[in-house]
Amino acid sequence: MNTKLYVRNLTISFRTNEGKVQAVRGINFELNEGETLAIVGESGSGKSVTSKAILGILSGNSIIEGGEIIYDGKDLLKIPEEEFHKIRGDKIAMIFQDPMSSLNPIARIGKQLTEAMILKGKARQKESRLSFNAYLKNLSAELNVVLPDVDTDTKCKNFDKFEYKHLDLESAYNNAHDAAVEAVEEIGALVFELEKKAATDVNYRLKRIRSLAKDSVQTYVVDKNSAELLALCEKILPAYKSKNEQELINVLSSIKKILAEAIDFVAPNFFALGYYCTFSNEPIPELDIPELNKYLRKYLDEHFMLDFIENVQNAVKSSAQRSVDNMAIAIQQLKEKRECFAQSELKKKEIFDTFANLNACVKATIDPLAISKDSLTYTFGTGVRSELESYFYGKKNNKREEAKYEKQLAKHNAIKAKGKTPNWTVAAPSLVNFELVQSNILNQIDRLIRHYEEIIANQADRNYHEEAIAVIDYLKACASGVVQKVTYNKAKNKALKLLEEVGISEPRKRFKQYPFEFSGGMRQRIVIAIALAANPDILICDEPTTALDVTIQSQILELINKLKKERNLTVIFITHDLGVVANMADRIAVMYAGKIVEYGTSEDVFYHSAHPYTWALLSSMPDLDTNEKLDAIPGTPPNMIYPPVGDAFAERNKYAMKIDFERQPPMFKISDTHYAATWLLHPNAPKIDTPKIITDRIARMKKMKEAQENGKQ
């Protein structure tokens, strides 16, 4: 499974008037493509802070003390704001907790929905064009090296040319096809309502159907029947005005029939067709679409594709080979220079010189033709640099802090000697932990060496043919990004569709309204629609359903699940309600006081939960069969300005042992997928069973499921 996002050892604090609040204290998780990770915990546990850090929108008083968030080969904690623009909202989108404060109160909903779409559309076009050109240039350069005697430049340029023709054809087809699909859906809904005599807005909808039907007249979509369709379109409004409903329904049904037929047709192979149209001077042969596809495919393969794929394959191979050669050098260098970083005292000039050399070596191993970016190689430079910077910052300032510490400690002891307890605590003696920084750097180096060795070992198994095909797909995808323009009308139609999709009735009327004219649930749906508008890669949902009632909550959850499947979205779902995540989450991380206390698949957490806090969460809410008194968690979460020395949950934990108040528990491994941080899992700890209220519920649910299955059979 492809890992999308790594969060490692993330530590975040906030400066406040009262002191430094430690919101997140070293959390680790990974996010795989297409899965949902639920982060569960009560307010103040640091779950929102984590998600904000991923999106780079932490408030001004935050201090990122350490760790890394790696997405697409970049460390999000270190990249500049300009680069973040490309990621935030586009690749990683967020649904916020409070819909009222995440919508602009003085802009209409329509504007807020379409604004980002249009801006992002323009940016995407530009970016696609750039990356397409850059890749072709790299490819062409590499080909020149591999095949110096062949004119490869023209080949790349030819690819460029016909690829554009292909996309023109395809986008025209897609527009028409989408229009036909939409028209069929719309007619279906309208006819149903007309028969029930409950249709609203009929005039507008008929006009829309007419324009959609007209749009769908296009080669390969509605082709032969186009005259008939156009004639029918003209009959729609007269039929409506004559108030003869039966006639109107008949007209609509026949339009629907034609369009439905058109939708079912196989689409031609536009890629091959584009090539044929650009380079062959003959007209397109009149064949059935499947026959035509075969013919075009053959033509393309003979004249261009086989040759091109072979060339690309050679280029990729040579580039990869060179990269691997460089890796061998880099490994050697890294191993040699490792000692420099392990010294007890680092010298600034010397160490930065060594680092610059190493960085150059590592950068040389980057393969320009590789499509997926290698995150370790990419982040090595920035990662080590920031560690070094913090090291030398500490060198500069630690002495002052230590003096301060001595002074405070003396004062503290003086107060204590008088028999009073001071209401403040002594600040930490040093800003930067040198050992930790050095071990972080060494870790990064070791990890990179291991990574390189792995790649070199796997070198023989690589399939360059598949990689070449992937390259062509990548180029196709880039090019399609260039052709897709986002006009206002397109954005508006998409926005209306989104509004309908998230369950807002009369989207056309709502489109023009202001946020304050909506109820809480409706506002949240708009926020969700905005987040989905950019088609993000990773969707962070920060308590998206907390303000909504059950039906809408379940609709929204279904919506997110559906979108996740359709678009292969990766979702981070933040909530305080464990019930909500049961059908959403693949994996669950339970957070308390800035730490992950339990981590596992949803089956692990729900059926075999091991941490007392998870038990408390599971047993504190009633379900439909609860009659006994609820098992409330006493007290409130600890004040994170002075985090407890031991387990943060110890004070509210009825199973707390002495050690819980003294030392923080490490993450105990329960199974390959399941971890929990509680001393109860220590081999010497007394055995405590899962609370009865939870085991009872599991047993009850099991019985219910069996009964259901029996009922079905």
């Binding site: 009560e42 307010s43 309502e193 029930k196 005599k197 409950a198 109820s519 809480g520 649930g521 409706m522 909504l548 009632d549 059950v550 039906t551 809408i552 909550q553 379940s554 609709q555 959850l557 279904e558 305080h576 309600d577 464990l578 019930g579 909500v580 049961a582 059908n583 989450a585 949803s602 089956e603 729900f606 059926y607 408390a616 969460l617 599971l618 504190s620 809410m621 009633p622 379900d623 439909l624 609860t626 009659n627 008194k629 609820l630 098992d631 409330a632 968690i633 006493p634 409130t636 519920r697 599991i698 649910m701 219910m704 499921k705 259901q708």
Partner: protein, 400 residues
Amino acid sequence: MENNNSEVLLQIEDLCQYFGSTKAVNHVSFDVKKGEVFGLVGESGCGKTTTGRSIIKLYNITSGNIYFKGIRIGAGLMSYRLAIKKAREEYKEKMAAPGADKAVLKKELNAILAEQRKQIKLAKFDQKHCDHAYQERQMAAVREKYEKLLAEANESEKVDLKKKFKNELRIARKTRLVTKIQMIFQDPSASLDPRLTVREIISEGLIIQGEKDKEAINKKVDEMLELVGLVREHAGRYQHEFSGGQRQRIGIARAVIMQPEVIIADEPVSALDVSIQAQVINLLNDLRHELGLTILFIAHDLSVVKYFSDRIGVMYFGEMVELATSEELFLNPLHPYTRSLLSAIPLPDPEYEKTRQRIIYNPLAEHDYSVDKPIMREIKPGHFVKCNEAEYQKYLEILK
């Protein structure tokens, strides 16, 4: 949680609350019996909160009657006005008919109009002075009590007694019936004044009611704080110094100090964290048994409502569609909307969740009300469903 008391404390009769053309609550009727918890559920915007607020007279209701302890505390005028309009039109037609005796008809019409106008006057009076009768009742009780005491007391005691008598009489004169219904609001931080201390917040109602004895007030506030699980020292603090659960406790204390008989809890836990929710629910449950409160519990979380309520009313777009005891409702949900609502409840069990099918409710597809309009019908003792004749027969079949 069986409740065998059949005394109706709160009676909502044909309640309508319109805001312009929006029919927020449309012909809703139900009774709340003494000592029970009545749950109102439905999706956001279905009018549950509006119903609650109409009952404590935060709005002037459009139509219908609200009775509390048998006294009409709220009355709407729309139904009478409609009756006048209808009568006028009817008689206009009658008079236009050939050979009609205009004088007789006019007399009849005038009689009808006078009757309706009288009703309007009565409704207006009740709406405004509903406490009048209650205050008289309270004052009489106080007088009776002290006359007895004064007659028996000697001279030295008399001064003290007279002072007490005066104080209590004033309170009785100012007691309003509506204060016996108190409300707990959804968002605790928004419903508490940030510039008042907890003591001021909790005692505000008492002071408005006419209590002047500071010591008595303080004593009562301390009592209340302890009752809801806070400590006396908290009284001097401001609301921002508390966590969400504690704020909600302050909100509850503010309601309970008025010695209400009915509490309207408008989504008291939905703005709170799960771990705190359980604390607040447990508290409300304890208070209810200790003080014998009657609670109108408004929420959208069905698991909580099921756990807490004796009877549940399901609302959909301003109308009540089903009303039954909570066991009955969850065992035999009849109205398609109720079934859709129940199918949407998430449970903390991944395997069950993966197979859960949500039923989608589409009123157009479910019902055919073009001929036969639906009304509330009793399918089973205590189980009401809004349906027409055909559906009634269908539901009866299902129950068999």
